[in-house]
């Protein structure tokens, strides 16, 4: 018997480009579709959220300052690296999803990869489509452009391990936002595997930060953080989402949640330039036209 002991992966949080355990030192067991133990995930703390937001904040200007072409290439690179690690993602999806077939896992993985490609292509197009010249009644040049809103908190949906996360994350960062993601509490491991992919894909440190742990503990510090400009509560249940929105209101943080159509994750309706726009601010610049 040529038995070789497998090397199990330690799933760590992804903050500021580094894989770290929680400052609290805690972890929680993650079980698979059949109730089998898969791994221990980090049980992140409010301080981890704080650190992740700080990291996202400090990297935001630089990320937004990259050329659109560069951001597009980096998102495409994410797809490339995911493609090369397809089997790993399929396995993550399969073991985390109740009643999932290999075919379904492969389909989810493929859709997630394709979603990166789709949004990669928008990087240098969405400002053309969403902004433009405004013909004002006066001697002025007037141009509106969508700009990233800043730091976006994303509460990832729970229903599938990979595709919903990618569907919410890609439109956020393509415009130059940075993100703090609370991974699905139930199936966080694919999120960490995605983080490993991001780390290999030229995504600058801090652009995406992924925290794992208990929602009840992590959503409030994220929603209440003053430095979070926009909050995607797609992964919150209604009570949790309402509480998060109440907190967000204190600092006029934008609150966004996936529509019913967007929750058909495999459909084309789940992807849209207007979803990029939802995490942008329209800036309008006026200048006189004179000799």
């Amino acid at each position: 018997m040529s038995s070789r002991l497998l090397i199990n992966k330690t799933y760590k949080q992804f903050i500021g480009g580094a894989f770290e355990r929680s400052e609290s030192g805690r972890s929680y067991p993650v079980v698979g579709a059949e109730g089998q133990h898969l791994a221990h995930a980090v049980q992140g703390s409010r301080k981890d959220v704080r650190d992740a937001v700080a990291s996202a904040r400090s990297s935001q200007e630089g990320w937004a300052g990259r050329t659109a072409y560069n951001r597009g290439q980096i998102l495409y690179r994410v797809a490339e690296v995911m493609e090369s690690r397809r089997d790993e993602f399929c396995a993550e999806v399969l073991r985390a999803t109740d009643g999932c077939s290999e075919k379904a896992a492969a389909a989810e993985t493929a859709a997630a990869i394709d979603r990166w490609v789709w949004y990669a292509g928008w990087a240098d197009k969405f400002p053309t489509v969403l902004g433009g010249a405004n013909p004002v009644a006066g001697p002025y040049f007037n141009l509106s452009v969508p700009e990233p809103t800043g730091v976006v908190g994303i509460v990832a949906p729970d229903e599938q391990p990979l595709l919903p996360l990618v569907s919410r994350l890609a439109p956020v960062i393509v415009s130059g936002n940075t993100a703090v993601v609370l991974a699905s509490e139930r199936c966080p491991l694919a999120a960490i595997t995605l983080a490993e992919t991001l780390a290999l894909s030229d995504v600058p440190a801090g652009v995406v930060n992924i925290i794992t742990g208990h929602r009840d503990e992590l959503v409030p510090p994220l929603a209440g953080h003053v430095a979070v400009d926009s909050l995607d509560i797609s992964g919150c249940d209604s009570e949790q989402g309402a509480a998060a929105a109440r907190q967000a209101a204190a600092t006029i943080t934008r609150v966004i949640s996936a529509s019913t159509a967007e929750r058909q994750w495999a459909d084309e309706a789940a992807q849209s330039p207007y979803l990029i726009d939802a995490f942008c601010e329209t800036k309008t610049v006026w200048h006189p036209k004179g000799r």
Partner: protein, 333 residues
Amino acid sequence: MVFGVLSPNASLSITSPILGRVTDLLAVDAPVGAADAVAGIRITPVDAVGLEQRAASLCTRSIKTSSKAAALDLAVRMMDLTTLEGADTPERVQALCARARHPDAADWSVPPVAAVCVYPELVPVAVGALADSSVAVASVAGGFPAGLAPLEARLAEISWAVAAGADEVDIVLNRSAFLSGQYQKAYDEIAAAKQACGSAHLKVILETGELGSYDQIRRASMLAMVAGADFIKTSTGKIGTSATPPTALCMAEAIRDMAEQTGRAVGLKLAGGIRTAKQAWHYLVIVGETLGSGWLTPERFRLGASSLLNDVLMQRAKLRDGRYQRREDFSVD
């Protein structure tokens, strides 16, 4: 921040110690803003749209009825009654001078105008006709209206006009030199003209309609003022574009900067296209709001016009009689 203060005389001399610096800063690529303060003069850029909006807004002011009569009289007293035609004859100039003394034959309470403006050849006629009056004689000179006669000839023409009795001389900026970037040359010529004027007042016509932008108008205004102009003037009246509210505002702002930065008060003359009393009021408002009431005097503000006078007189008569007037009843000179 300390601005250097030019004494009035310093800027009159061609050998002014600041000459070099002045022409440096007038250069096309001269830095604007703080760097100019070294020479004591700032040439502020002009935003066309903002300037035009401010001018338009000033033109919506309404003057008090009781002030209107005084404003109309002031407009008359600020007027340079002008005839600059090749067909001008001694008879025509004499008629004009008679109007200048008593603008309204039917109402001798109307004050005389500031000056009569003619070609040099007709200066002696005007001098004779205006003897014993307060009306000054102004002469265009210096190769008016192009200003491209040889410099010696232009200076000689100025000297001739002054010798013939002109109190004021209206010359043109050398746009050929100015627009080709030869600011030193343009400056030197004005300074030389100032010398040739002696005690006569020098008005420098910028011909703003040919300068292409308000920035250039502002630059030309500063150049002319620093070179010694007693007045800066908009136009010859010989091209399509002449005085406009934004042009007047642009030049008034330059004059304000000159006064602020050097303590020297330069006058403003608007010419061409001013035909109605209403326009004259607008210009009074622009100058009054920008430069203060200190400029609302013929010593510092002139309106060069030929057809304006009748409209002012009509409005004056309307104020007096309360009836609108018939244009044909006013002088056709």
